[in-house]
């Protein structure tokens, strides 16, 4: 099975909470990928020789301190805080901005190779059934068609623990409408489309169920005839394996700490409610897709992927190829958000077609298929929280049911487990199989759902305790960064003027609310790079790591630039190619924290080599040289200095290069990140429309390398979060099993007119864990919090709590009692 979790190394040793990360990039032992699981343990008696260094530590608002760490001797000296650096932490224009703005960036969808064929995927038109026959003759005969490949194995679905429970069949069993069946390669996309219509598939249909609630019934059609499990991806997703399964209900994954019953008995107040969230589709603008050029000595794969390494691994696994014969290239990438790891069905089909035709084959999914092949699972959560009069939490109990269609990974317990300190906790997470496309990792898997319930319940608790919601969080939240972030919100927003719930008399009601996020520090040891310095003074960085649009290229240019004292624009960045040293797959916000230390270390080592090579000619020793402000300076003689170019000109060879790989974190600690988002909104109680007017986000991502890029990502998280809360919803037809709105006109996504005023404040958080202390922001950037913050602001505006999303006008009017409907019920699709 190629789509396994590639678990990032993290500080598991001293981190019991690691296993409390439901649906994050999950560190479940059985899912650990061998080559990343066991990095050399940093200890005094093993590993490379160490030296002791003092690192800047803490959060500037709280006063910075220092932290002593043992670091490998070949690592650079600790970085100063951002304020004292030249390029790191300074707003920097995107490295590939001009290429993108001028239409020159070549995305996978844009790749054109000589003799390239265009492929189309043919998918199932029934939601459940056995394929009796597939007739490809007419399609094959169509002039211009070069090959038809019929799928032998479908990836991305859960698989039966015991395959013998199902009668074997000639073709993979169809479990959702839209499941890939075949691929066609033709000389033009139009001919491939024509041919797709000529493929005749005969089905023996089976009963199906696409609704989570119906699927839980004892007599519901079984999506799988026995227990089945699904793997996650490098981005997370995927549910627990080996848990009980009755009918379509897979689970629970049960976790308990302390004694919840005693905790509730000791509580002064208890809040208890049910919450519902919908299925959200990724809707990256570039659909999933590949161009595969299968040659006998090397298979080249252009991939719209979040992990060049994940694609290479899958190609090697599926086609039994040595990795040395697989090259994966991702130069520009049109968005992923968690859905694009490994080769998937489209990559496997493209590769088979290329092998059959001896020609490069491009297979991009169409928009309908994109909506079907991956999603964020829905949820039905029952949540109960107990607290003392002073706000101290005494017990939390969460039961969640969610459908990831034919996959698993709908758990939502992350926020309830990891946001606040609570001695007694019980969580039970169930996956419910339905005949719908598989769930996948999607920006902070499980957390937007979990936060929507949990952070609203905390708000409800504040109401019951007659406490300010921020004061309650100050009481129960130990995270230092979020404390500073809450303070920023109090100082910089309208929070102090917050009025009692439902204060406006007229039909337009305004309110404000906050919610908090939690994410985890994951680090991938598959993070290597090479830095080259040439005699002409040019500096290049190479790594297989990819840039999904998050700004990886820019971030790496900045790190190299800081080390060499040259502007980031002068560093050439070559990434997204597995010919270069291995890079981390970009999921779970691992990229920045994983690859930047390797890059800084390599740049530092290249610089040391340069000094060593030229020092004799300069009549000095290497340790007398250092680089600053773009010049090579003599420590013992301030009057002597050279440009970098003058120095490299003295290299005895044409180039020098250094390679570095991410080492383990300096210390084993449980580390989380978090943001706090504040929302002001207006509810039109006559039309049911919710207008988000202002968002203030305060966020922590360790040491920000490029604040410009970080802020862009947070804007994106906030806007996706608003879109999730108010608009987006997959609609399944219970009668046919089809997704009815698998397109961008009926699947409503936030547009320009719905964009509120957004203000973002980054909180620097130095943790002294690596040579850069950088961390990713993708997950904690607003997507987790916004639905809950909007829910809390909605309550403040109206006095009514929204327990289901999306907050469409119909849902809002029902909640307000303006139209018949059942407030607090699931938004029916």
């Amino acid at each position: 099975m190629p789509l396994e979790i590639i678990t990032q190394e993290q500080e598991q040793g001293a981190q019991p909470g690691a296993k409390k990360v439901p649906n994050a990039a999950k560190p479940e032992p059985q899912a650990v990928h061998q080559d990343v699981a066991a990095p050399p343990v940093a200890s005094k008696d093993s590993g490379p020789p160490k030296r002791s260094e003092s690192f800047v530590f803490g959060i500037p608002q709280n006063g910075l301190t220092s932290k002593q760490r043992e670091v490998p001797v070949d690592e650079p000296p600790p970085l100063a805080r951002n304020a004292d650096l030249r390029y790191i932490g300074k707003p920097t224009a995107r490295y590939d901005g001009p290429a993108k703005a001028m239409g020159k960036g070549k995305y996978t969808a844009d790749v054109q190779l000589p003799g390239m064929l265009y492929a189309r995927m043919v998918d199932a038109s029934v939601p459940h059934g056995r394929i009796v026959s597939i007739d490809t003759a007419a399609a094959e005969k169509l002039p211009g068609v070069r090959a038809v490949y019929v799928v032998q194995h479908t990836y991305g679905l859960a698989e039966l623990r015991d395959p013998k429970q199902e009668t074997p069949s000639r073709y993979p069993l169809i479990r959702y409408a839209g499941q890939p069946i075949a691929g066609i390669a033709a000389v033009s996309p139009q001919i491939a489309d024509d041919a797709a219509k000529l493929i005749k598939v005969q089905y023996d249909p089976m009963p199906f169920v696409v609704d989570r609630t119906e699927a839980r019934a004892a007599d519901a059609p079984a999506v799988f005839p026995g227990p089945a499990d699904a793997a996650g991806s490098a981005g997370g997703g995927g549910g627990p394996k080996g848990v009980p399964q009755v009918g379509n209900v897979h689970g629970p994954q049960r976790k308990q700490t302390g004694d919840p019953a005693a905790g509730f008995a000791a509580a002064d107040v208890v809040v208890e409610s049910e919450y519902f969230t919908q299925v959200q589709t990724h809707s990256a603008l570039e659909t999933h897709g590949f161009v595969v050029d299968w040659k006998p000595d090397e298979v080249t794969v252009y991939a719209s992927t979040q992990g060049t390494s994940s694609v290479r691994n899958d190609m090697a696994d599926v086609f039994k190829l040595p990795k040395s014969q697989v090259r994966v290239i991702t130069e520009f990438m049109g968005g992923g958000f968690g859905a694009k790891f490994g080769i998937g069905n489209e990559g496997a089909v493209a590769a088979n077609l290329s092998r059959m035709t001896n020609a490069p084959v491009k297979l991009m999914l169409d928009r309908r298929q994109e909506h079907i092949v991956s999603n964020r699972p829905d949820s039905h959560q029952k949540l109960k929280i107990g607290a003392k009069r002073d706000g101290t939490l005494t017990a939390i109990e969460l039961t969640s049911y969610g459908t990831a269609g034919v996959g698993t990974g709908a758990g939502t317990a992350g926020p309830a487990t990891n946001l606040y300190t609570c001695p007694n906790l019980l969580t039970e997470e169930y996956d419910v199989f339905t005949n719908a496309g598989p769930g996948a990792a999607f920006r902070a898997p499980g957390h937007p759902q979990g936060c929507f319930a949990f952070e609203q319940a905390i708000d409800e608790l504040a109401v019951k305790l007659a406490m300010d919601p921020i004061a309650l969080r100050d009481k129960i939240d130990e995270n230092q960064a979020r404390r500073v972030e809450r303070q920023l919100i109090v100082e910089r927003t309208n929070w102090r003027n917050r009025r009692p719930a439902g204060s406006d008399a007229g039909p337009i009601k305004r309110g404000m609310g906050v919610a908090q996020s939690v994410w985890y520090r994951f680090v991938s040891m598959n993070s290597s790079c090479e830095v080259r310095v040439s005699r002409d003074g040019s500096v290049e960085l190479m790594s297989a790591v990819q840039d999904l649009g998050t700004g990886t290229k820019t971030m790496l240019a900045i790190v190299v630039a800081e080390e060499f004292g040259i502007p980031p624009g002068q560093v050439v960045i070559r990434i997204g190619d597995t010919r270069f040293p291995v890079g981390p797959d970009s999921g779970g916000s691992v990229t920045a924290g994983s690859i930047t230390p390797a890059v800084r270390n390599a740049a530092y080592q290249a610089k040391q080599q340069l000094f060593a090579a030229v020092a004799p000619q300069l009549g000095t020793t290497p340790d007398n040289l250092h680089l600053a402000e773009g010049r090579v300076l003599f420590k013992n003689d301030p009057s002597r200095s050279y440009t970098l170019k003058q120095i490299t000109g003295k290299l005895p060879t044409d180039e020098i290069s250094a390679r570095a790989t991410r080492g383990p974190e300096y210390a084993k600690e449980k580390l989380t990140y978090g943001g706090v988002d504040y929302v002001e909104l207006a509810v039109d109680t006559e039309t049911g429309r919710v207008h988000v007017e202002k968002v203030f986000g305060a966020h922590d991502c360790g040491r920000p390398i490029n604040p410009t890029g970080v802020i862009s990502q947070i804007n994106g998280g906030i806007l996706q979060g608003i879109s999730y809360a108010l608009f987006e919803q997959r609609i399944m037809d219970r009668k046919t099993g089809y997704m009815l709105n698998a397109n961008l006109d009926n699947y409503k996504i936030l547009g320009a007119r719905e964009v509120p005023e957004i203000e973002i404040e980054l909180v620097e958080n130095y943790i002294a864990q690596s040579s850069t202390d950088a961390a990713g922001i993708g997950e904690s950037a607003g997507i987790i919090t916004l639905a809950a913050a909007i829910g809390n602001a909605f309550f403040n505006a109206t006095g009514v709590r929204m327990r289901s999303i999306p907050m469409t006008p119909a849902n809002v009017l029902a909640a307000l009692g303006k139209v018949p409907g059942q407030p607090g019920q699931e938004v029916q699709a």
């Binding site: 224009a93 001028m102 603008l285 570039e286 804007n715 320009a752």
Partner: protein
Amino acid sequence: MADEHKSTFSRRGFLKGAGVAAATTAVESANALAREAQAAAQPDPTLGPGALPVKLRINGQDHAVTIEPRYTLAETLRNNVGLTGTKVVCDRGSCSACTVWLDNVPALACMTLAIDATGREITTIEGLATGDTMHQVQAAFVKHDALQCGFCTPGMIMSCAALLERNPNPRLADVKHAVSGNLCRCGTYPKVFAATLEVAQQRQQTAGLVGLTTGKEA
């Protein structure tokens, strides 16, 4: 969802059937009506379904391509001319990623048949820059980081640059309106607004300065 200025589809059937309606600008309506009138006077020859040679004027250059009448302009630009800056995202007129200009008016290349673009001036994202020098709007997008994955960016820039041509002094609401059909999943909107408004401001200032130096009111 589609911006009104995007609705100048060249599918003749659409123009005939739906009329030019209020959806098009006055000038463009007049042009479209004139073309329709001309087309009515000389009935269309039957074309296709096979491929035929067609001449397209793209970014100031003539391109001879052999295409089937059913090919959209977006497909033709990307697959037959090799100009892949124009992106196809929804292929049904709901995201504006494929926005190009036809005779300087934004149009959706996925909703325009290539043969209907003959005789018209087609401008794509590749034609906006002057050599390696970015158009002001492109440069502002880079400066403000109004692009992340960049897949929506060509369409977004074509919409914003066109807005500034027809309205040199837009307000925030005008920019929002101009890109209301442009979908961006990465969430670049706030920076798109800032970039576009800054170009407008720069142009105003430059115009003001020119006015001062020449003694004429700009």
